[in-house]
């Protein structure tokens, strides 16, 4: 009843060739087929952001994209962002500020925040607390109430811009 498709892609810098069901979502693919369980599944309908990852440099909802659509793409998950050191300062700020409790939203939250920080860097600006809140509003966190997350992202934005907090 289902169709299989061969895909070849790069995931966290590794070349991967797999046969996937056409209906399989990207997040199920990285979790179940590649064992990259840092990307989480919270709703499977594009609302919670727990599955946020990067495809060809842009953040996507891993539950709204099919693995088959990623043939030839570069996919980056939290494991890759961690190992490359790209978000090390953001992770450290989250840990210091207790900007995570259960941690289920955290990989998606970090990935979304990193996008904002990249945009801010390109504009050579520091996002306001309201802008931070706006940007992470596609990522649901039930535990923290968001305040600590905003603090952590704000501190990194300032540090990266060389602004004293």
């Amino acid at each position: 009843m289902s169709m299989d498709i061969d895909i070849t892609l790069t995931v966290n810098g590794e070349r991967v060739a797999e046969r996937v069901e056409a209906r399989k979502s990207l997040v199920d693919f990285v979790r179940d087929d590649l064992g990259l369980t840092g990307s989480h599944v919270g709703c499977e309908h594009g609302v919670c952001g727990a599955c946020t990852m990067r495809v060809d440099g842009v953040i996507v909802r891993g539950c709204l994209m099919l693995a088959a659509q990623c043939d030839g793409s570069h996919v980056e998950t939290i494991e890759g962002l961690s190992d490359s050191g790209e978000v090390a300062d953001l992770q450290a700020a989250f840990e210091q500020r207790n900007a995570l409790q259960c941690g289920y939203c955290t990989p998606g939250m970090l990935t979304a925040a990193q996008e904002l920080l990249d945009q801010a860097k390109a504009k050579q600006s520091v996002p306001s607390r309201d802008e931070i809140r706006e940007h992470i509003s596609g990522n649901y966190c039930r535990c923290t109430g968001y305040h600590a997350i905003v603090d952590a992202v704000e501190s990194v934005a300032k540090a990266r811009a060389g602004v004293k907090s």
């Binding site: 840092g38 259960c102 809140r133 649901y140 039930r142």
Partner: protein, 798 residues
């Protein structure tokens, strides 16, 4: 911004050298989670593991006429299709009652419905397959014939003679009823200068944990042993229940929790589909995994807070509260949830209403009725948000009626700080609270006078801002009075086992569990402080019934106050044992020695005498060099349970500042404050984050969250697009303040902090909205959630 301690450390007698008590140290185990390398139950895979999907009743109430599964059984990857009747041979049903809730009744509930489905979403058939997708595909091939039965969906008429009875064996739809009449209520109302009545509605809502419920059950036929990887708050409770209903001994069941993606009371109950998954593993002799998807979470995760309360308050013209009266009606599901029951929430509403106030006259009635909707049970701050909404709503309405400032009326009625121990009209025993100090602290923190001035100035410009308050008390550190006395195998005590390893580092095993609140950090702080090592030398193990002391887990804000005390005591005891070894090695008196920063020192001079690594080396590998007859004991266990007080009540007050757009009905939250008193603060950062997260959960209930049902018992908004939860952009910054009144029941003096935020926030938001709209002559809003439509209605605009 403040990246480290956002509150100054609180010093106390617990401040040993190198003490971590009162310090905002980061949690030791976070990198795993920030790197996406945690292990949630949804991540667990085992060899030969199969996946189960449940076919769920589309009807709120229906007889299951037939189940045709031939095609499904032959489908690709399918291992088994199992009905309720088949599973009943493996697992016994349960009844959710407690003996201390007099008269509570419920009907036997099965892991999978047998003959009859009683709510939309109840599992009626299980399909086990090699993948979840294959299991779901096969579900599509199953044909179930239903005969729809009338659904009971209106609590107001649930007890009418003309309403069908859901469980004929029970005689009626009443699950539980409680009445209380203390003091002279009628006389007090008659002697009041003003009496205010209002009907409050708290919307049925649910936890929406980011990680849905998940369980992997692994029955090993060779070992005759069940291992359950379970996202639960209470592993030992679940061990007992799995064993009991599979007819096994508890030693045949091991429950492991690992990381849990949020729980908030959602993951502390018996869920039929989780019980079924465990039974399926036993039946099929292989690991079976179940992870609820979001849609099934909405119709099966417990709901909570579906209450309608008629409330009444009397006051004198001087603002003295003369009496409270409430009539609470709550519609639960078709079953009282096992084992904590669905009666506790209403019971708590009766216990807690009027709780902060020194008012001897109180009458209450609460009725809990069965409904053909998803089950209701305890969710973060059980009953508190409802009781606080009624109490604080009435207090502010009364203040408005007699023209008194809302903080002033509280000052005149809150239990005096020097009047403890005290007892509420409902009989709650209060050890030591600090309502007045908390209120004074809040008054300063929000700069109340200036805020009122700003509000008045903006009103002239047509901008309507409101300031609302909510005083509250919170139940924490429960003793056996909560569940144990009612016959449930839910332990209130907890234990900690601490051991010195062969390199002189510490491992602690604790019966409480980590749900993200920071329990493991608190345990590490306690044991590091009382033993005398740096936190880096402490490893914490929780969530494994094979390897931790018997304990209650995490609920009712007990992990820090109870689990922390056990850890503190265990660390102290191990220090004594280690110093005995050091004394023997150094030919010194143990009482002249101490352990500081991982080194045995001279207690008076602080001079370093012996490293723990060397001590451990000798004790483990060269015990022959120790004096004859001396035995080193380098692993100790201590347990703790509150005995002097049934509960360690905490208190606090919240304030909300918000703006209502009177054209659209939208509410913009500008700022939120909470001052609370959880006794000794072990980690101010963790306390504050519990408060903040809790406040936002309460705000969700006040403004957005509601499980909407139609009259046929169909949930109308069971997905995350239609059921609204708070997102970052709508939430305000939240400031926290503290007063510290330690409990004398433990050496640590810590009470719980996990639920205070959720307890007070909805009332606070309600009062702020009504404060904003009062000059416009709007009807007071008391029906949560306060959607733009309801606000416009109150303003008479729609």
């Amino acid at each position: 911004m403040k990246i480290t301690a956002d509150s100054p450390p609180v010093l106390s007698v617990l401040d040993r050298p190198n003490s971590y008590i009162g310090r905002a140290v980061p949690r030791p185990n976070l990198q795993r989670l920030t790197q996406g390398r945690g292990q949630y139950i949804s991540d667990v895979t085992l060899p030969r593991m199969a996946h189960v999907a449940y076919l769920r009743s589309p009807h709120a109430h229906a007889r299951i006429v037939s189940i045709s599964a031939e095609a499904a059984k032959k489908a690709l990857g399918v291992v088994a299709v199992v009905t309720g009747a088949e599973l009943a041979k493996v697992m016994t049903p349960w009844v959710g009652v407690l003996t201390h809730l007099k008269g509570i009744k419920s009907a036997p509930q099965s892991p999978i419905a047998v003959e009859r489905a009683c709510w939309q979403g109840e599992a009626v058939c299980a399909v086990v397959a090699r993948t979840r997708a294959q299991a779901e595909d096969a579900c599509e091939l199953i044909d179930i014939a239903y005969e729809e039965l009338p659904a009971v969906t209106n609590p107001e008429t649930a007890l009418d003679a003309s309403t069908p009875v859901i469980h004929a064996s029970l005689g009626d739809n009443l699950c539980f009823e409680r009445k209380l009449d203390v003091g002279e209520v009628d006389k007090a109302f008659a002697g009041s200068h003003a009496v205010v009545e209002a009907t409050f509605v708290t919307g049925r809502h649910t936890g929406v944990c980011t990680e849905p419920r998940a369980v992997v059950a692994d029955w090993n036929e060779g070992e005759q042993r069940m291992t359950v990887y379970h996202a639960t708050q209470a592993p030992h409770m679940m061990q007992n229940l799995f064993a009991k209903h599979l007819d096994l001994s508890e030693s045949q069941v091991r429950v492991l929790t690992k990381d849990v993606g949020g729980s908030f009371g959602i993951k502390v109950h018996t869920y039929a589909d989780e019980m079924a998954t465990v039974a399926l593993s036993k039946l099929l002799k292989r690991p079976v995994k179940f992870v609820a998807d979001r849609i099934e979470s909405f119709v099966t995760d417990i709901h909570a807070r579906d209450h309608r309360i008629k409330g009444k308050i009397g006051v004198t013209k001087d603002g003295v509260i003369t009496a409270f009266e409430i009539d609470d009606l709550t519609g639960i599901g078709p079953y009282s949830v096992y084992p904590r029951t669905s009666g506790i929430e209403a019971n708590q509403v009766v216990n807690l209403t009027g709780g902060p106030y020194n008012c001897p006259n109180y009458r209450a009635q609460a009725r809990v009725v069965f409904q053909n909707k998803n089950v209701m049970c305890q969710y973060r701050a059980v009953g508190h948000p409802i009781a606080v909404a009624v109490t604080e709503g009435l207090v502010e309405l009364a203040a408005a009626k007699i023209g008194m400032d809302p903080l002033e009326i509280r000052r005149r009625n809150l239990f005096p700080d020097d009047g403890y121990p005290a007892q509420t009209a409902s009989g709650l025993k209060l050890e030591q609270l600090s309502h007045h100090e908390a209120l004074a602290h809040l008054d300063t923190m929000i700069n109340y006078a200036a805020l009122r001035a700003e509000q008045a100035a903006l009103r002239k410009k047509g901008i309507y801002r409101g300031i609302g308050f909510a005083s509250f008390i919170e139940v924490t550190n429960p003793s056996a009075a909560f569940y144990g006395v009612g016959g449930a195998k839910i332990t209130s005590q907890d234990g900690a086992t601490v051991k010195l390893d062969a390199q002189g580092a510490i491992t602690i095993h604790s019966g409480v569990t980590e749900q993200g609140q920071g329990a493991e950090a608190v345990l590490a702080q306690c044991v590091a402080s009382s033993f005398g090592v740096s936190m880096e030398r402490v490893r914490v193990v929780t969530g494994d019934t094979d390897n931790t002391p018997y304990g209650g887990g995490t609920w009712a804000s007990r992990a820090a106050g109870i689990g922390g005390e056990a850890a503190w005591q265990a660390g102290k005891a191990l220090r004594g044992n280690v110093l005995a070894v050091a004394g023997a090695m150094l030919q010194a008196k143990p009482e002249d020695l101490d352990i500081r920063n991982g080194i045995v020192v001279d207690k008076i001079t602080g001079a370093e005498r012996l490293g723990l690594d060397e001590l451990a080396r000798v004790a483990y590998f060269r015990p022959d060099t120790l004096p004859p007859g001396f035995q080193a004991e380098l692993m100790v266990t201590r347990h703790y349970v509150p005995r002097a007080w049934p509960f360690a009540f905490t208190n606090g007050i919240q304030a909300s500042y918000l703006e209502v757009d009177t054209d659209t009905g939208f509410v913009k939250l500008l700022r939120h404050w909470c001052v609370e008193d959880c006794g000794t603060i072990i980690n101010p950062q963790l306390v504050n984050e519990q408060i903040r997260g809790g406040v936002v959960q309460g705000i969700g209930a006040a403004l957005f969250e509601q499980c909407l049902y139609d009259e046929r018992g169909q949930m109308l908004n069971g997905n995350m697009a239609d059921y609204l939860v708070p997102m970052a952009v709508e939430m305000p910054d939240i400031d926290c303040g503290h007063v510290v009144s330690p409990t004398a029941d433990s050496e640590l003096g810590a009470k719980g902090a996990g639920e205070a935020g959720t307890a007070g926030a909805p009332a606070c938001i309600m009062n702020a909205i009504n404060d904003a709209l009062r000059p416009l002559g709007a009807q007071p809003l008391t029906d949560m959630p306060f959607t733009p439509g309801k606000i416009l209605q109150a303003l008479g605009k729609v």
